[in-house]
Amino acid sequence: MNPVNYLYLAALLFTIGAAGVLIRRNAIVVFMCVELMLNACNLAFVTFSRMHGNLDGQIIAFFTMVVAAAEVVVGLAIIVSVFRARHSASVDDASLMKL
């Protein structure tokens, strides 16, 4: 089947992820949405690499996974510490600073 469809799928996933970030309150979920966006990127990379017939895209995908993993580490650390301090993982509760 036409690899271009994978691009559409990637775009779709990316959009879903973005929408999730905009809509969801729970920090964890928001973060998962970001991961979803990253993976959408991966899919795009792989697809393009398939189309171009060179491997750069696939390699980049691996880099992305590593980075994403690192992000998870840092992100969860922060979110957890906030959760322990506030007993809530809602991003909206964290709004001491405004205006």
Binding site: F31, V34, L38, C41, A44, M51, G53, F63, V74, I78
Partner: protein, 549 residues
């Protein structure tokens, strides 16, 4: 395209490759980055093995030494002509070693050194249970106000991890403006972002705000980097490569355009443009340009002030470096596409930052908005799209970063019971209480406002001149207007400090150790020198204003 063709591609791609050439790395030319990275790793080991009481000193020494060495390396490379004649692409096309890269790396390293001084400051707070304390949490992991934290405080723990984190961040920043392919760009971005997220979270006072800042910064940062990455993907899809050089050549059509496989499915320019826009967004986020600026005030306010200063200065330098390289190396052929867009961004950034700053009541937020406005001015220089534009931006970055760090360093000095007294009302009559500190801060504010004989003016003038030369006269006018607006709130602070009566419960001004004093002095000196006799540094910036392709 037919599935057949696809198949054949697949197979060719799947051919077993005869032998992989070993990558060839120019270690000397990467030495600045390598030194800092190495130091970072070592300092992780220090965290692991050196006993607690020894850590602080060893860490401080290690970081400063490493940064000094890195700076030496930068200077050495520049002297070796890598800035001009021998400029070229190193590390298999991953990293560019050229004038802008070296200039910016030098700026970043210097800024980082003074920033690290502020990290290491331990005189501002009174000693706690007989232990000198810096501005970082005793134990970041402990819940604020919990017994665990109290215990940690009692035991005199300090988060010396900030030093390795900072080093990693610096390393990332060094790579960022030098990155010569999008992948390196992305990795470098993450390498300096992730430590910063953490650094934001470890303030000693007002920990909730600090953590909140971290969360916001992290989530939004991740969000933006996702966009960046997707943009990269699209560009890759457009050009079939992530190397700047290749993309540039594809853009100006000097090598065969994109694979016909894509040509018939979507207008490949759409790939290019959308991808470009998303990458741009990722960078503008780091720069703090409207409308991607909203994290700035909250994060600047919440983060520990030394970290704020560090971010405000170094991150901006790195991000603008990357932005310049992207626009000048990758997309010169696209100038007429990105210029109008950047015009818009620059205008809203200048005006937005200046206008909103007027009604701020917290000094750190005020500075945050001022940094946004300054990002706008810098963008005006970027848009010039001329060598003088590049050099002016480089110069501006150098001037600006020192003013910023100095200003935030002063902020750390003004304290009351709850730590730093950042609310403006607390600053009333500071000039009467401690004229010196107030005067120094006034100098920084005047520099921000761009009053002649301060570095702020030289920078602003250089940038506007470049913009006008580059045919962006309208931008200059807008810039002038917004600096007029901006002048208002800088002046407001000065009035507050000097002409209004001190409050009875006003803050005290802590007497800093030699470290912070050094930072502030450096800030003032640079501000005045670059204001009165900027010629030498302008020359530097000029020589450094050629990107290697």
């Amino acid at each position: 395209m037919s599935s057949m063709a696809v198949h054949s591609m697949w197979t060719t791609a799947a051919e077993p490759i005869a032998k992989i050439p070993a990558p060839h790395i120019e270690y000397t030319q990467l030495s600045p980055v390598l030194i800092v990275l190495g130091a970072a790793i070592v300092s992780v080991l220090v965290e692991a093995f050196v006993p607690r009481k020894g850590r602080y000193h060893s860490q401080v020494f290690l970081s400063v030494a490493a940064l000094a060495a890195a700076f030496a390396a930068v200077v050495g490379l520049a002297a070796g002509g890598y800035g001009s004649t021998k400029a070229h692409i190193a590390a298999m096309g991953a990293i560019a070693v050229d004038g802008p890269a070296l200039f910016l790396q030098g700026t970043i390293v210097l800024a980082s050194i003074v920033a690290v001084f502020t990290f290491a400051e331990r005189r501002l707070d009174p000693a706690d249970h007989g232990h000198k304390v810096d501005s970082f949490a005793a134990e970041a992991a402990a819940v604020p106000g919990s017994d665990q934290e109290k215990a940690a405080v009692k035991a005199g723990f300090t988060t010396t991890e900030v030093f390795p984190l900072a080093l990693f961040a610096i390393a990332g920043m060094l790579v960022f403006p030098a990155a010569n392919d999008l992948l390196t760009l992305f990795v470098a971005l993450e390498v300096f972002s992730l430590p910063l997220y953490l650094l934001c979270a470890v303030a000693r006072r007002k920990r909730l705000m600090s953590q909140e800042a971290a969360v916001k910064y992290f989530l939004l940062g991740a969000f933006s980097s996702a966009f960046l990455l997707f943009g990269i993907a699209l560009l890759y899809g457009y050009a079939g490569s992530v190397s700047y050089a290749t993309i540039a050549r594809v853009v100006d059509g000097s090598i065969g355009s994109v694979d016909p496989a894509l040509a018939d499915t979507m207008g490949n320019d759409a790939l290019l443009l959308i991808g470009f826009a998303m990458v741009l967004m990722g960078l503008l986020f780091k720069v703090g340009a409207v409308p991607f600026h909203m994290w700035t005030p909250d994060v600047y306010q919440g983060a520990p002030t030394p970290v704020t200063g560090f971010m405000a200065a170094a991150t901006k330098v790195a991000a603008f470096g990357a932005l310049l390289r992207l626009l000048y190396v990758v997309l010169p052929g696209l100038t007429w596409d990105w210029r109008p867009v950047m015009w818009g961004v620059a205008i809203v950034t200048m005006l937005g930052g200046a206008v909103v700053a007027i009604t701020q009541t917290d000094i750190k937020r005020l500075l945050a908005y001022s940094s946004i406005a300054h990002a706008g001015f810098l963008l005006a220089g970027v848009i010039a799209a001329t060598p003088s534009g590049i050099s002016s931006v480089l110069f501006y970055l150098g001037a600006y970063s020192f003013v910023t760090i100095g200003a935030f360093a002063v902020v750390t000095l003004v304290r009351d019971a709850g730590g730093e007294a950042t609310h403006l009302s607390k600053w009333a009559g500071l000039g009467r209480r401690s004229p010196l500190v107030a005067a120094v801060f006034a100098v920084f504010l005047l520099a921000f406002a761009g009053i002649p004989l301060t570095s702020g003016f030289s920078g602003k003038f250089a940038v506007f001149k470049a913009a006008a030369d580059g045919g962006a006269g309208a931008l200059v006018v807008v810039g002038v207007i917004s600096s007029a607006i901006a002048a208002f709130f800088y002046v407001r602070v000065i009035v507050l400090m000097f002409f209004s009566e001190p409050k009875a419960d006003g803050p005290t001004v802590a007497v800093p150790s030699v470290l912070t004093s050094l930072t502030i002095t450096a800030g003032v000196v640079v501000t005045l020198v670059l204001g009165v006799a900027p010629q030498y540094f302008l020359d530097l910036a000029n020589q450094a204003s050629v990107f290697v392709r």
